[in-house]
Symmetry: C2
Subunit: 316 residues, 2 copies
């Protein structure tokens, strides 16, 4: 039985990961500053054997180190990040501190304490817009167009240098758009909340043709554990569904049908919702598939399931 | 006549760049915290028309902004960085603050003030070890093995996102090993200083077979101005000589012959001098050559000239 430390563990991915690690019989220590994650999200974990939580700002190595006390950490899962891309566009310091300086601080603590293994939640946003080219893990050039993507790439760069110097094992998971509960952000939650405020009318940013692939969080956690179990010294994998995704129109209609069947949907213009949002994306998960992993849900089924879950979360 | 701001302008590259910009009739404002650059290095610039200097920590946007006062900056040249790779290996905070947070701070100030153009000194160290593959600008994956290279890559990532949001024009120069005066670090200076301390004996780290290409700073400045003059919206270029370089043995012998002909050279073992030092490197400058640029000096001539200059600097 080993002790896993999850930085940012009170967030959407973190609480799902914590549950899965507890299911495997590990001890789990979650660290979170509760700026985005919540105690409420961790409620189902609190009573479980082996779970503990510390409230700490993971961008400060001294605070993390103090919070760890004399615990011996075996593996680190770094899920701490700003997940609100537009907030990072408005103020670069959000991603600088929450997405990048957390990486610097966590690596600092790992170096001091000799913690040998880290698993990192990177992002498909490191790639930027490659037009029609399929996006494999080793594609170049890397051209993130949001501060969020830039700070995820900056984090990967520092992990790579740390691997050379002192780490034994690194996993870099390049996340797709992930959906499920507890939802804290994202297009489905946004639509559900809009329909709570204005039940007859759903305003959609952009013309609805924007297409993205979505992975359900249950498949994401499965992929992360699958990759971690391979024990590669430096594992870099795209994670995602195998389809080319669904449109914003499909998501809007699914939310409407599940929640407010009588509502009217109104689309805007253009196929970009905000700066940093890439319209279409040929994200290859061939490398991961070749290791024997397959997602249980494609984008369509992931959206259908997540819409049900998020409607239940927001309008119980 | 326009005003060019050089961050880190009291360093080796910065003072050579400042002189070249003054030669072109521009005004030049150098900012430097003098942690590595010196007033002595700027002495030949002080009396020239259009030159001014402010002592400021370029990792703090408020300090930069205050130092700029009501000056209207037309173009920024970001040359501020830790240039001591082993120092960054020993303490990641050195490269974090001096190499990366300078980029974040400078971009912050540019955003606030609407300064539209930046030229950035990146590095071949962003690529890492690619074995026998030729290193073109768009190669992947990027796998820096030093904190220095990681923080240069992190800086490029942030520049790319800033270009999407508010910058008009960006140049990214991926520097090779650059030699010349005023030398503040590097293998030639190291050997000359060793021979000042122990005139009969030169101890060399590694077995001397390590091979690198070197560009003389005069060719580097020429290449930077050549690229900047092309006015590309987002220019990324490797800069370097066209040869595959010279060995450490050649450099040691050249320094010995020029400075202490009777000294004995003693080599160590292995072909890596320190963590983060890539043994051999097939760095392609084809993209730059195709724009009509050629270096005046190959690695051999660059070393011969720099050795003379650095010997004169250290033992005048």
């Amino acid at each position: 039985m080993s002790l896993h430390f999850i930085a940012g563990g009170a967030g959407f991915i973190g609480v799902n990961l914590a549950a899965a690690l507890l299911d495997r019989g590990h001890q789990v220590l979650v660290a979170d500053d509760l700026s985005r994650g919540t105690r409420e999200a961790m409620a189902p974990l609190e009573s479980r054997n082996g779970f503990s939580f510390v409230e700490v700002d993971c961008s400060d190595p001294d605070l993390i180190d103090a919070a760890l006390g004399d615990r011996q950490i075996d593996e680190v899962w770094h899920m701490a990040a700003n997940s609100d891309i537009p907030a990072g566009v408005a103020d670069y310091r959000v991603d600088l501190r929450q997405t990048f300086l957390t990486t610097a601080a966590i690596l600092d603590v790992m170096s001091r304490r000799g913690i040998p293994v880290i698993h990192f939640a990177s992002s498909s946003a490191i790639y930027g817009d490659h037009g029609d080219r399929a996006i494999f893990e080793d594609i170049g050039p890397l051209q993130p167009i949001s501060n969020y993507g830039a700070m995820k790439l900056a984090s990967e760069a520092q992990l790579r240098a740390a691997k050379e110097a002192y780490l034994e094992r690194v996993s870099v998971f390049r996340f797709p758009n992930v959906i499920g509960v507890p939802a804290t952000h994202g297009v489905i939650l946004d639509f559900v909340q809009k329909l709570i405020r204005t039940p007859d009318d759903l305003q959609v940013l952009g013309d609805g043709t924007q297409q993205k692939s979505y992975l359900h969080v249950s498949d994401l956690i499965g992929a992360m554990l699958h990759i971690a179990d391979r024990n590669e010294p430096y594992a870099v994998y795209n994670i995602g569904p195998t389809d080319e995704g669904v449109t914003v129109r499909f998501i809007a209609e699914t939310v409407r049908d599940a929640f407010r069947p009588a509502a009217q949907i109104h689309f805007g213009e253009g196929n970009r919702g905000w700066v940093g949002d890439v319209p279409k994306f040929r994200y290859s998960v061939d490398k991961l598939m070749e290791t024997g992993w397959t997602p249980e849900l494609g984008s369509t089924d992931a959206v259908l399931r997540a819409v049900r879950e998020i409607v239940a979360q927001e309008a119980p």
